[in-house]
Each structure stands twice: as structure tokens, then as C-alpha cells.
């Protein structure tokens, strides 16, 4: 009667962002076997690409370091990077999972000396900075990358560039013959911590993202403010590299809109309030931030942060959803057009830079999941019919880092219950 129903005791965690790392760690530190699968070459997800967190304005590197240390020390976690789940079959307690492992072209001998990157001249778009700059085609994704191992971009494999990287490696870590592998595993429970992606701002046609150089997304703005980012932490606008001191933040760029994302993405108000403080940090009283909003939703206990920003003389608020943006052809400044709700005044206001507070779209949007997985109307994961698969963090709902960690811990506990469930408890 005490034997588990689940025929397999392993928990699969899909996604190595803050939620996936947390879910994996919580289960592993309870003594469960965990396989942590991550699509990109590194852990950390979108959280690691933020400059600062709200509300304490601390750097994500701090939390990342703690979590990476926990992962390194834990024998129960098996980490697989550059790996995607392609199929899940079976039922609660006994799933068969097919994984596709993309070749990294660098094996575990790598010491991260960086000689391959020095040798290679080819460049590719840098996803770490949301494509704002380029990087060498042999690269370490970022300074704190874990695993601390270089990656060879597939575009140079089979070219003289690839051979250069191989020749430059002093420890023979570059292996250009690596092939894509397919692995099948058995697991008892699955946690989807697949996270989110920024809504494609180009779809919001009147805002001109992609047409106007000085209209960027909030995620790109995080990279501009980050010392590790493309501008070394200087807020320089992409159009002409000038300092952007007068910045407009447009809320609900994609969110709360039946034509785009029908849900409120929850984090964007706080993100913009936080980013006004980047402007203050960079330019002091010379900076100017304007937030265009429908209504500010400083979720949960963050109302005091909103009040703090309201007191900041460099920040002003305009209650209006901007109708359209046009570009001033002379100086490249975006001009915002709309009507404000407090008095119905028509405005046409020029700014140096526009930051679109883009909404959160589940990363699994458009991905075929097992039929058993239940999604809500915005494609967030609610769970599975058989009760053996769970959503965690931003895959389950638009959540900030704090709430993602809570959600991941909860999902982890659910997964543990699945593999611990015995015939006697099942009967209840």
C-alpha cells in the first residue's frame, strides 16, 4: 500500500529561467530526481537579461548567482541545455518524453578561455541583447553563463570560420562533427516553466515599431540600461546614437487589447515605473520620463513604489492610450498623437525615444503541446487533465519574478505529490 502509483520517480522541468530553476531546485532539494531542460545554451531565461528588479532595484545577477550555486551543488539535478521537448506521451506517473538536443559544437573540455571567439571573425545577431547588437559566431552567451562553456553558431559549421575556431582551441573542445540527438526519457511528472516572450511589437501597426528606429520595446530598454548591454549602460537611442533624455513609456502595448493580447500582462506598469528610475539614474534632473497609460496597475503591494515615482519631478503621467506615432523626419524624434482622458485634450508630443511596455505572450504560443494540457484563452498553462503536468511561473500566468518563484514552488510541490502518491492516498 505504500508503493507509489507513479512508475517513475523523476520530475521533468521544461525551461531554465527563474521559474524552471526554482521548480527544479525545490524538488531536488527535497531529494527528488529532476531533469531540467533548457532550449537556449544557458540558464537564467529572460530574468537574467533584466538590468534591475522592482521594487528593490537590485540586480538579477545576485539571485542568479545564488540559484546557480544551488544547482551546481545539487546531485539530483540533471541539466540539459540546447534541448527541446518534442513529444510527451503516457499519463500521470508514467510519461515518455522525447527530447531533441541541438549540437553546441563545444564539448565539456571547454575552459571558456575565449580563444575561439578571438579567432572567428563572422558575426551573428546577439539574442542576449534582443538583437540590438552583434556578437562573434563563437560565443559565451554572457559573463555569468552557466554552463560556462562556449557555443559555436551553426552558421559557421562547415565553413573556414568553423575550422578557425577549432584550430584556435587549446584543449580540443571544439567538435564540429556534433549532430543533433534525440533522447527518450521516462518521467513521473512534468513542470512546464516555459515562460514568456515579449509580444511582437511590430504587430501594433500604429506605433511603428520596426519602422521607426527610436521606438523600442521595454526589454530592449533593459539592455540599453545594463552595463553589459550593447551601449555599456548608456541610454543611447538606436536611431542616431544620441543620448535619449526625454523618454515616453507607452503602457498596454499589446496587452488588454482584444486585437492583440486580451489579458493584462500585470508586470508592465511596474516595469515602466522602474525604468523611469533608470532615466533618473542616468541623467539626474536632466532626464524626463512620461508614462502614457490607461490606468496604472501597480500590482499587489507595489502601490508605494508607484507613489514614490509619482513624487519624482522628472516623471509625468498622461492618462491616455496613445493612438499613433509618427516620426519627425528632421530629427528622427517620434511624435505621439492621442487624446487624454483627463479633459479630452488632443496632444502631439515629441520625445527622444519611445519605450513600448510590451505584454507577455506565453512562449508556448503556437507550439503543439500534449492534448492533455489545458490552456486558458491567452495560452497560459492551467495544468493537465490527468493531473500530472503543471504550469509554473510566467508559463501559467503573467507573473513577475517574485510571483513566478512562488508559482514554481507550488508547481514543484504538486509534482512531488504526483510521484509520491500511493494507492492508499489515491483512494481518498
Amino acid at each position: 500500500m505504500t508503493a507509489s502509483i507513479a512508475t517513475n520517480q523523476t520530475i521533468l522541468v521544461v525551461g531554465g529561467g527563474i521559474s524552471g530553476m526554482t521548480a527544479a531546485l525545490e524538488a531536488a532539494e527535497c531529494g527528488k530526481q529532476v531533469i531540467l531542460v533548457e532550449k537556449t545554451p544557458v540558464l537564467g531565461g529572460r530574468t537574467a537579461r533584466l538590468y534591475r528588479y522592482f521594487p528593490k532595484m537590485c540586480h538579477p545577477t545576485c539571485g542568479l548567482e545564488i540559484n546557480l550555486r544551488r544547482i551546481k551543488q545539487n546531485r539530483n539535478i540533471r541539466l540539459m541545455t540546447m534541448t527541446e521537448v518534442t513529444a510527451v506521451s503516457g499519463s500521470r506517473g508514467n510519461y515518455s518524453v522525447t527530447l531533441k538536443v541541438a549540437p553546441r559544437f563545444v564539448n565539456e573540455n571547454c575552459t571558456a578561455c575565449g580563444k575561439c571567439a578571438e579567432a572567428v571573425t563572422a558575426e551573428v545577431s546577439n539574442p542576449w541583447n534582443y538583437g540590438l547588437d552583434k556578437m562573434k559566431a563563437a560565443y559565451l552567451p554572457h559573463n555569468m553563463a552557466y554552463p560556462q562553456r562556449y557555443v559555436i553558431d551553426p552558421s559557421i559549421v562547415g565553413t573556414p570560420e568553423g575550422e578557425k575556431a577549432k584550430a584556435a582551441c587549446p584543449v580540443g573542445a571544439v567538435d564540429l562533427d556534433m549532430k543533433e540527438e534525440t533522447v527518450t526519457l521516462s518521467v513521473g511528472a512534468v513542470i512546464y516553466a516555459t515562460g514568456w516572450r515579449p509580444y511582437d511589437a511590430a504587430k501594433i501597426q500604429p506605433y511603428g515599431y520596426g519602422r521607426f528606429a527610436n521606438v523600442i520595446t521595454s526589454l530592449e530598454f533593459e539592455r540599453l540600461a545594463d552595463p553589459q548591454g550593447p551601449t555599456g549602460g548608456k541610454i543611447l537611442r538606436p536611431g542616431d546614437g544620441k543620448e535619449a533624455k526625454n523618454i515616453a513609456f507607452i503602457q498596454c502595448a499589446g496587452s488588454r487589447d482584444e486585437n492583440h493580447l486580451r489579458h493584462c500582462s500585470r508586470i508592465c506598469c511596474m516595469a515602466s515605473l522602474k525604468q523611469t528610475q533608470y532615466v533618473r539614474e542616468a541623467f539626474g534632473d536632466q532626464g524626463k520620463s512620461t508614462i502614457y497609460y490607461i490606468d496604472i496597475r501597480a500590482i499587489d503591494r507595489f502601490e508605494d513604489f508607484y507613489q514614490m515615482v509619482q513624487k519624482d519631478a522628472t516623471v509625468s503621467f498622461v492618462k491616455s492610450k496613445v493612438a499613433k506615432i509618427v516620426e519627425n523626419a528632421e530629427n528622427g524624434n517620434p511624435v505621439l498623437h492621442g487624446v487624454d482622458t483627463e479633459g479630452y485634450h488632443r496632444y502631439a508630443t515629441e520625445h527622444d525615444l519611445v519605450v513600448l511596455a510590451v505584454g507577455m505572450e506565453p512562449e508556448i504560443t503556437g507550439v503543439k503541446l500534449p492534448d492533455d494540457v489545458i490552456l486558458d484563452s491567452s495560452n497560459f498553462i492551467e495544468g493537465s487533465k490527468d493531473g500530472g503536468m503543471f504550469g509554473a511561473g510566467a508559463a501559467s500566468s503573467p507573473l513577475d519574478v517574485n510571483r513566478s518563484v512562488q508559482s514554481a514552488t507550488a508547481a514543484s510541490l504538486h509534482a512531488i505529490q504526483v510521484i509520491r502518491k500511493t494507492a492508499s492516498t489515491e483512494a481518498v
Binding site: 498596454c252 482584444e258 492610450k321 493612438a323 487624446v339 482622458t341
Partner: protein, 207 residues
């Protein structure tokens, strides 16, 4: 209840929103507006009219019956549908504006001499007479709406266009004698009468 209390409640009863919901096309969607302002900012004619859709919807909810039904704004709508496709709540804004215009017109509260309203009336009366628009009479009546002198002036100004239409056989001068109609005129009039009966019932105009 005391009069003071009753009066205080009356302020919040908002009969006008209920009236709009009951009698105006798509009026039940007015309450869905979240006052974001995208419609007002997206309207190509926005700067030229007194009340944007956003403002009209708020005025309805504030119970400003006379101001809303007396506004010329609904008549300024060109049906470009910019507001409607961009509305984050998918309110059928264009339809509501037309619905309000029609309701105000039927109540006789719409502004007098509003050109769009006048022309629409002219067009409707012309079209239902024979089931086909008598373009010659429509144009003439339109030109001479302000009297003989201004009518002749306006007609002369357009004479080259008229001549061109005539040469291309798009304008028949014989239409001045009543013009052509649909085959079953009686049937057509029956359809219009029935439609009016249904509309009256729906919009609360049945006496």
C-alpha cells in the same frame, strides 16, 4: 424617503444610459468603453468635431442627454472604421455613432441645418420614392437647398462635371420628369413600411 434622498439617488440612476442601451443600435456596448482614448486619437476628422466617441460615451454614462443628442459629432463620422478596428475592447464605435445619429434625428433633437443630416434626409426621401436614386433630382435639390441664387451658382460651378456625366451616359436629363423606378413599386413600398414598423418597435417609437 425624503426628497433630498430621492434627489441624491436620481443623480445616479442614469436613465439615459438605459435609454441608449434600449433604443440605439449596439447601445448595449457603450458601457464596455474603458476610456483609453484610442478612438479619439485615431479619428481622421477628430480635431474638427466637438465630441470624440470617447467623450460621447462618457457623456452618455454621465447622463448628459441633451448634450449628447444635440451634438453634431455623430454626423461628422465618415465611416472609415479606424476607431472600430483599433478599439482594444472591440466596441462597434462606428455603428454606435450612426445609431446615436439616427436616434437623435428621429427624436428631432439633432442639430438643425447639419449638412450631413440634411443630405442624408434628402437622399433617403429621394431613394424610397421609386426604389432607385434619382441622381438628377438629388443633385438639383442639394444645390438649391439654400435658395435660387446660390443654387444656380453651385450648379454652374459643377456644369463641366455634369456635362461629362451626360456625355458618358451617366446622367439622364429626362429624369427630371420623375425618373425610373423598381419593377414592383408597390412591393418595394411595402418592404420599406414593414422595415420602418420593425425599426419603430425596436427603437421605442411605436406610439
Amino acid at each position: 424617503m425624503t426628497t433630498a434622498n430621492t434627489n441624491a439617488i436620481e443623480r445616479y440612476r442614469n436613465n439615459f444610459l438605459k435609454e441608449v442601451e434600449a433604443n440605439v443600435e449596439e447601445g448595449h456596448m457603450v458601457k464596455m468603453c474603458m476610456q483609453c482614448g484610442v478612438c479619439a486619437g485615431s479619428c481622421p476628422l477628430g480635431p474638427h468635431w466637438t465630441h470624440s466617441p470617447q467623450k460621447i460615451f462618457m457623456m452618455i454614462r454621465a447622463g448628459k442627454r441633451d448634450e449628447v443628442l444635440g451634438s453634431d459629432s455623430m454626423f461628422m463620422c465618415t465611416s472609415c472604421y479606424n476607431c472600430m478596428v483599433r478599439c482594444p475592447r472591440q466596441l462597434p464605435i462606428t455603428h454606435i455613432m450612426h445609431g446615436l445619429a439616427n436616434y437623435a434625428h428621429r427624436l428631432g433633437l439633432a442639430p438643425k441645418g447639419q449638412p450631413t443630416r440634411d443630405f442624408a434626409t434628402l437622399f433617403w426621401n429621394n431613394a424610397i420614392k421609386k426604389g432607385r436614386v434619382n441622381e438628377l433630382m438629388l443633385t438639383l435639390r442639394h444645390y438649391f437647398r439654400g435658395g435660387l441664387v446660390s443654387g444656380i451658382k453651385e450648379a454652374l460651378g459643377m456644369q463641366s462635371v455634369g456635362l461629362g456625366l451626360f456625355m458618358a451616359k451617366r446622367l439622364n436629363p429626362m429624369e427630371i420628369f420623375g425618373g425610373h423606378g423598381v419593377k414592383d413599386l408597390k412591393g418595394f413600398h411595402a418592404i420599406v413600411a414593414k422595415a420602418k414598423e420593425i425599426e419603430d418597435r425596436k427603437k421605442g417609437f411605436t406610439a
